[in-house]
């Protein structure tokens, strides 16, 4: 009996559809959940969480596995196994600035705003850039527009929100896709069930 942590956000619907197509009855269970956070879907117990929390539940073993974006796994620095990368909901984590703003490296530290403060700092340092990061909870594009920060680090899909706010992606810092992740101990102690789930969803 595996416990699967799913993010209530934008990943849930495409994942449920793919699961149904592969004979895993997630969609029904999720639809009938209502306010409940824990639902049974055949052999699998599903936890419905905020996507930032999925890596924590999986790393600490409260969930055996989960589906969440690589951005959340890296932001939390969670020591989990990455069994499968999904094709849907792919996007890019980019350095984004106001049109006309200059973010070239002049030795002075760059002030960045981001929902992924730990990851943004890591990616900046890997490119030799000094940076200070302001953690924000949402709508980071406003931070760039109103000058709270020199630039922001956020996920870009179509880029429509950016254009609406007079912003543009400067550099792509990371390819991001949803992953099927697993707790290290569960990966070894429940090897067979893990491989089965991976084949079902990996198809």
């Amino acid at each position: 009996m595996l416990t699967l942590a799913l993010a209530k956000g934008r990943l849930l619907e495409p994942l449920a559809a793919l699961a149904e197509a592969r004979g895993l009855p997630l969609a029904g269970a999720i639809a009938s959940a209502g306010r409940a956070l824990v639902v049974e879907a055949g052999e699998i117990r599903v936890l419905l969480l905020k996507d930032a929390d999925v890596p924590v539940y999986v790393e600490q073993g409260v969930a055996d596995c989960g589906v969440v974006g690589l951005d959340q796994v890296l932001e939390r620095g969670a020591d989990v196994m990455r069994l499968l990368r999904f094709g849907f909901a792919r996007c890019r984590l980019c350095l984004i600035a106001r049109d006309g703003a200059n973010v070239a490296d002049d030795g002075r530290p760059l002030l960045l705003a981001s929902k992924f403060p730990r990851l943004a700092l890591q990616l900046a340092q890997r490119r030799g850039r000094h940076a200070t990061v302001v953690p924000l909870a949402g709508s980071v594009e406003l931070a760039a527009r109103l000058g709270l920060a020199d630039a922001v680090v956020d996920l870009v899909e179509t880029g429509r929100t950016l254009r609406e706010n007079g912003l543009h992606p400067v550099e792509e810092w990371l390819q991001v896709a949803p992953y099927l992740i697993a707790n290290r101990a569960a990966f070894f102690l429940q090897g067979r069930e893990m491989r089965a789930l991976r084949r079902t969803l990996g198809g």
Partner: protein, 301 residues
């Protein structure tokens, strides 16, 4: 006397029944090891940390040298026993018990202070199989039957060898990390993988049919070694599997390595492997293992 504001968060404070159980288990383990010819030694709390990566609590002492609280007994034992190893006679077999301090414990509940109990054998023909068997017996004496253990066996540098076959130049740390977290798709995006290579790598990473990837990567000998370790674990009553890219506690392992997991706590109860001590006069082969007594007692319930 006005006691100041408490003790650093999460520092080990034990009393009553919990402490009695731990001292009882420690005594039984030490008796077993002494019976097996391991001489008990007391290792110092402080060690020089000049070259060490920034793991434990580090500080600069009065002579300007960098000191650190011990984070792992194995390298400390090698350093303290270096004169004896150089002078010999070998083999030399020691065992030890005490706290090590790791500020960032993996598991949330775990305290930074870990009660480690272990043994090292220097200069003998000793090998991974014998050490694994003894480690499982130690856990048994501490109250954790082998049936509740799962052993992941590996060989140091195996991940690097796999990658070396797929790349021209030596694999960098990031690619090895991708293997450690089994990110096959992530690797496929950075390294051009032909279908057969991808299938072999998948078999290796997800621990199915060993012979398939052993042949493909020409690692029949290493895989045979792993099989011997697995049989030793299964013979002792534990389940076992191959971990082709382990997150070893110490970077110093060369040759066979293993970790022992507890089914209830789903935590690492112990581990060990083969390594070598580089001395001015030449290398001394060594093998050893240790168990985290506190975690083992949690697993014993």
């Amino acid at each position: 006397m006005t006691p100041q504001a408490g003790v650093p968060t999460g520092v080990l404070t034990l009393s009553g029944e919990a402490l009695r159980r731990q001292r009882g288990a420690e005594r039984r383990c030490v008796e077993l090891l002494e019976a097996e010819g391991f001489q008990l030694i007391h290792l110092p709390v402080l060690e020089y940390a000049d070259g060490e990566p920034a793991a434990g609590y580090r500080f600069v002492d009065r002579a300007g040298r960098l000191l650190a609280l011990r984070t792992d007994f194995t390298p400390l034992a090698a350093r303290v026993l270096a004169p004896a190893l150089a002078a010999g006679p070998l083999p030399l077999a020691v065992c030890y018990a005490g706290e090590v301090v790791r500020p960032q414990p993996a598991r949330l509940r775990q305290l930074p202070e870990l009660y480690q109990l272990g043994f090292e054998r220097y200069g003998a023909g000793g090998d991974g199989v014998g050490v694994l068997a003894l480690a499982l017996r130690l856990l048994g004496v501490a109250g954790v039957p082998a049936a509740r253990c799962h052993v992941t066996v590996s060989a140091a540098g195996l991940a690097e060898k796999l990658l070396a076959q797929l790349l021209e130049e030596p694999p960098d740390a990031e690619l090895v990390e991708l293997l450690r977290v089994r990110d096959l798709d992530g690797l496929g995006a950075t390294v051009a993988l032909g279908e057969p290579a991808r299938a072999a790598l998948e078999a290796a990473l997800f621990g199915e049919d060993d012979t398939l990837w052993a042949d493909f990567f020409g690692l029949r000998e290493e895989v045979a070694g792993l099989a011997a370790l697995r049989r030793a674990a299964e013979a002792a009553g534990a389940s076992a599997g191959v971990d082709v890219a382990p997150r070893a506690a110490g970077e110093y392992y060369r040759g066979a390595m293993f970790s022992i997991w507890g089914r209830a706590t789903r935590a690492i109860l112990g581990g060990g492997g083969e390594y070598a001590v580089a001395l001015p006069a030449g290398e001394v082969a060594a093998v050893g293992a240790s168990i985290a007594l506190g975690v083992a007692l949690e697993e014993a319930g």
